[in-house]
Amino acid sequence: MSANKSLMKLHEIYKSFGDNAVLKGASLELSEGEIVAIIGGNGAGKSTLMKILMGIYPLDRGEIFIEGEKVNMNSPSVALEKGIYLVPQEPLLFPNMTVEENVVIGFNENKNVLSGKLRELIKQLGWDISLSRKAATLSIAEQQLVEILRGLLREAKILILDEPTSTLTFNEIQSFFELMMDLKKKGIGMLYITHRLTEVFEVASHVVILRDGEITVSGPVANFTKEMLIKGLMPDNMVHAKTNSEVCTVDYTKQPVLKLDALTGYGFSDVSFSVYEGEILGLAGVVGSGRTELAEAIFGKGEVLSGDIELLGKSIRGLDTNEIVEKGLNYVPEDRHLNGIFAMADVRLNTTSSILSRLSKVFINRKQEKAVTQKYIDDFRIKVTGQDQTLKSLSGGNQQKVVIGRTLSSNPKVIILDEPTRGIDAGARGDVYKIIYQLKKLGLAILLISSDFEEINELADRAEVMYHGTNNVVLSKAEITLDALTQAAFGC
């Protein structure tokens, strides 16, 4: 790639988690003084690749060379020794320790020597940071600086920066870029993971695109335009034709079922949109754009600072979650293992758990419970051996169907689906899509949160794209293309 000394080379890295192949022969090279931007959608394998380089995950197949020498990267301490340092997206500091303790921990050298070096380094960088402050009192930007100090004090030659700007404010970003330029001059090689294409052109010397576990595009930044990168981010043989050729039948003259009015909370601000009866509104965006925080706030789980949420014209802001469910809004959370299912319980309990109060006075009406469960098993073609099968033993797709069934059993008017097909195989995905269509036909208003733009493209009647906590772009059915979604989600 360049005449500079090669710092690191990853050769054909393979890695699977279970049946899920995350990396399929990714190769990457970094030389002195280079900043290689790594871009790619969610789940493309960026973090996994970096964790392999850092020795946190063992690789299945492939080779790692550091300065031309093959290295068996089996633990973070090996990576640290070889001069690699990962600045994680969310700083991993020790909140109860001081800045200095945070930086010098894990070193083998004498403490006083280290302390002197650290002070020297800070002076050199011209940073204004108090070493005796506790890490818990630092802002995120300051925490990031501490992470970088850690790397520099270790005399890291390779810095991995995992979306460092995602939690910084604009001014902080500028000074961060200046710092990167300084480091670049010193010959430090950086791998720069980002979601923001503008940043690629601002700081990087090279750019690679990681897609589906492979490096599909790579080269000096000067060889690319933003349009080329956007194209590179999208899948091959992209089918623009939508599978549902039905004409959009949503009646936009009616009163919207769910209406957000300048809703602001933690992680999102000034979000306004409406969802209508029988409409699938796609809420697209990259991870961290504030969609889940927004959904949780609508559902009464997160705080709303200002603005209003209206359900059929009536405000539901400030109500408890169970009242909101009662009023006709329900939410299928993103991580069903964490928030959605009772893994050890059977299908029946999982389906009816949100309406037990309706099925019972004191004791549960078993007959009715069975009937409700059977209805959803039949409607959604959930593959089970019986109603008493434990949820844990179902496949991901079938678990998701049960969760959607449960949500429906509360007879909602609006349903929020947060990443409904994440971690589900292609067959079950089709089934879930069919279910979503069924819901649409039933006249439900559906808010579909997804990072999978193909999913939005296929299902949504309209799409709102979140970027940095607000919905800056609205796309009508005709305007929804992977192109447009990607551009808006990456803030272009």
Partner: protein
Amino acid sequence: MIGHIMLIIKKIFEKREITALAFLVILFLGVGLRNPDFVNAQSIATVLKGSVLYIFLAVGMTFVLLTGGIDVSVGGTLGIAAAVSATMIRGGSNIFMAVAIAMIIGSSIGLINGVGVAIVKVPAIIMTLGMLGIVRGVMIVYTDGKWVENLPDSFKMASQANIAHVNIYFILAIVTTILVQLYFSKARTGKYFAAIGDNLEGAILVGIPAKKMIIIAYVLSGLCASIAGVIFASQVGFVTSNTGVDIEMVAIAACVLGGVSLSGGLGSVVGSSIGALIMTAINSALIFLKVPSFWNKSIQGTLLILIVVSDVIIHKYFEDKARKQRLSARAQCLDKNLKNLKDTDISTESTLVGGNGQ
């Protein structure tokens, strides 16, 4: 307003060693007002002597709590170490030999706990609770359910020895505390235990051998409990099958009182040792206040819960605040960002298009 109050409470909780020490002094003065006998030299000496085994337990427990774990098996370890060492000494074997064997037993129990928690990933409370049951059972079998009595006077008298009018075991406990404190603050690996409890992922990332350190923490806890066992045998002069029962609560309460966080990552052994002194002093104060001693455990339990609950509330409050700050930072920079980025967009694009045209 709430934020202000929380900040004040946090400040009080931050300098916990000092707060705890102040509490100890107030306790002595307060009880002394009711019954002046409580503050005379003899009574204080009794408290110091009585605190020795709690200090040892608390020192060991601190290692485990710092890593975010808990060790409820220390009472069992103390009991079996006391029984074994007492039996050996009564049988005429060398005192040092008996102490060494007790320490080996304690360390081994700790090793099993540590492996269970760090490698097999059994929740610490379950692992050590199960171990407590096992060790208690083994102890009863070992002693045949009988008391170990008639220990040689030389062994018993050792607990009465003084250096400069201070009990020798108490000096030993203080020296241990200071050494461990120096280790925590000065040694290279001293911060590792707290780091693991503070942020496990971060600890692994900076190359701390987390599993190994967790195992070491439990071994040290077992070791300290076995030393406490030997001290118990020497101080009391006999070992019953109930020796060490419920003592884990006192040890944990002592640590928490001294500022060790049950969620890990925070605390010092000096704090824990002061906490151990407080627990002993409360015990003793109740006698001087003529409160029936069966209230003792209820008071210890109440104190434990009160402190833990306030710790949790404070922790959660500041964690929530930090999370909100982080999320707002993401959303807030938007306006500025968008404007600025749009400007740069145009310029980058035009130069790029130009570059391509050449």
